[in-house]
Symmetry: C2
Subunit: 337 residues, 2 copies
DNA sequence: GATTGCGGTGAAATCGAATGCATCACGTGG
DNA sequence: CCACGTGATGCATTCGATTTCACCGCAATC
């Protein structure tokens, strides 16, 4: 392994000068710098990131903690994080918590020491832990907001608004909501938004796990109500709804409209293709990295007194993608009621 | 930050002894060890992984390189890797190559210095690069085999065999194969296996990208042939096939049977539910970690001469999951021919 | 009784890069 | 002509844990 010392020797300078020539912002004579750079290239020198990390206290690694890698929702965020980190020359340490708040806490404390900062997706842990674990510029929240911690999330309320206006424009007057986990911050935001739209009656089908089976159950609940449309917590639930409606012989969208959330790839592949609120997940991941890097930078320099810039709290726009699972509330549908 | 020296001082021993008591396999007096452990616990000492890594040369990190995090196939493998690594107290550095061999090479060289070993999923890079990059016990291959490098893959041939025997038992005599990328090692294995089954005529629909759109095209090709069943490279392609068959008014499975590969979650949600060859992807990920750790261990100790154990090359079993997209080759279907 | 043998220990070197401090050469202004 | 500033450089230290090497007792052995 070729070290800085080797390069220095080859260039005929001291290791200190070589270090400065290669990475330091300090002044180095142009001629010497050239020699060092040439020597480094010739010997195939690559800085040892571990040594650098020990001395400087920063590893250049980012931590990414999420509930489930196999969930396309989080996989998309991870992909965005990954891509942006690569652009910035940083590596990503990923940890899957298997939706378990205990594992989450465990993983975060363990990860915190190995990385410069950690991006927490949809954290389940209580606010006070969250604050102590990722408090001082060491963390970014995704899909959750908390005073004093930078975060990036999607505009859940606007997503609900778009979905409901779409349905209202199609003549629907009663809409059922198949919600997500009670502990979900996003679900709470969406639930709030349902109350804010005039001219529509909302039937709450209660909370539930964000899986297809929950959608199956929700479909029957919806059929038992006067709703002519169902909005689901996410696409998986919506697909469960579609499946059960088919089983029950209820035609979608003729007799019942269905809207999902997330726009996972499979949403376009089911039958009928699912109308859904598309969330900019990749972008969420990318922004989270940017906020993280910015937060790091803010810690380092002259330590501007009293925190001049409050932690950023970003909200990204969402977009309703209309496909085949929504249509006019037809007389036939009304007749079923 | 409390360091080893602090612990040593509190316990009244030298840092050397404290180190040995905490992590070294060397003998330490029981009484002294106890004192050190107690002091460490009391002070809330946590070893600095970076310092340890610098001295010992191993970071405890594993690298995971895969073509696309958002692809459920790789996400499942990643999940397995992640879970096993966590059990072993190791962290995972994930890198997404975006299906690009150049990025792949770049990422691997960059990652290699930060991790103890790297797990390469479905690597696209040429064999010689592969060997130099992950040669001496520094890498494990997934979904690709290469002399001298440990690997774990699935039994592609048996998957094809199971699928074809299923179809033959249902009375099918001509089967079309919608293959994957020409550069895919798995696809080559499967193609080989198609030739090995007697009593069936195979129609090769050619190679293609592993996306739904490719399935759409393949469906029309299949309809133009005398095939009564289509086996697709993966579930995504199979879903494309299903979609196009529906568009063309061909009923599945009555008029055409369809089989996928992978058994991604969405496979059970489409209509009809997809019969598919389930691959034990989580297990693949887990085994890859085990092989990696074993390979590391093999490097370290007495350096057994002439490499006593050849690199492990594991193959995990697959299982055909029969759902609703396959049925008897009916007279109606034959009539269509 | 002298000599190995060995468990246990600490001082100090080591890993590789970054950096505070001192130094030196060269100019420029007084 | 001297004092002082400035740019360039090297020495030595630092980061925190591991590990080599030497050493010290004490017990077993000849």
């Amino acid at each position: 392994m070729v070290t800085l010392k080797d390069v220095a020797a080859a260039a005929g300078v001291s290791p200190a000068t070589a270090s400065r020539a290669l990475s330091g912002p300090t002044s180095v004579a142009t001629v010497g710098r050239e020699r060092v750079l040439r020597a480094a290239a010739q010997l195939g020198y690559r800085v040892n990131p571990v040594a650098r990390a020990l001395r400087s206290g920063r590893s250049g690694h980012l931590g990414l903690v999420l509930p489930d890698l196999a969930n396309p929702f989080f996989a998309s965020i991870a992909k965005g994080v990954q891509a942006r980190a690569r652009e910035l020359g940083r590596n990503v340490l990923v940890a899957d918590t298997e939706e378990d708040p205990l594992i989450e806490l465990d993983v975060v404390t363990q990860l915190r020491e190995q990385v410069d900062g950690v991006i927490l997706c949809s954290p389940r842990m209580p606010a006070e832990h969250l604050r102590t674990e990722v408090g001082a510029g060491r963390g970014v929240l995704v899909n959750r907001e908390l005073d004093g911690v930078p975060s990036v999330s999607v505009d859940n309320a606007d997503g609900v608004r778009q979905a409901l206006e779409h349905l209202r424009a199609l003549g629907h007057r009663t809409v059922a909501y198949a919600g997500g986990p009670a502990s979900s911050w996003s679900d709470a935001r969406r639930r709030d938004a349902f109350g804010a739209v005039d001219g529509l009656t909302v039937v709450d089908l209660g909370p539930g796990r964000p899986v297809a089976a929950r959608g199956v159950a929700a479909a029957d609940l919806a059929l038992g109500s006067s709703a002519t449309a169902v909005v689901a917590y996410n696409d998986l639930v919506a697909m469960g709804v579609l499946e059960q409606l088919r089983t029950r012989g209820v035609r979608v969208p003729e007799q019942m409209s269905v809207i999902g959330f997330d726009d996972v790839p499979a949403a376009a592949l089911v039958n009928p293709p699912l109308t859904t609120v598309a969330l900019p997940l990749r972008a969420v991941g990318r922004r989270a990295v940017d906020l993280m890097v910015a937060a790091e930078a803010a810690i380092q320099p002259g330590a501007a007194p009293a925190g001049p810039t409050p932690p950023a709290r970003e909200q990204l726009g969402v977009e309703l993608v209309v496909r085949g699972s929504t249509a006019h509330a037809s007389p036939a549908a009304r007749g079923r009621e």
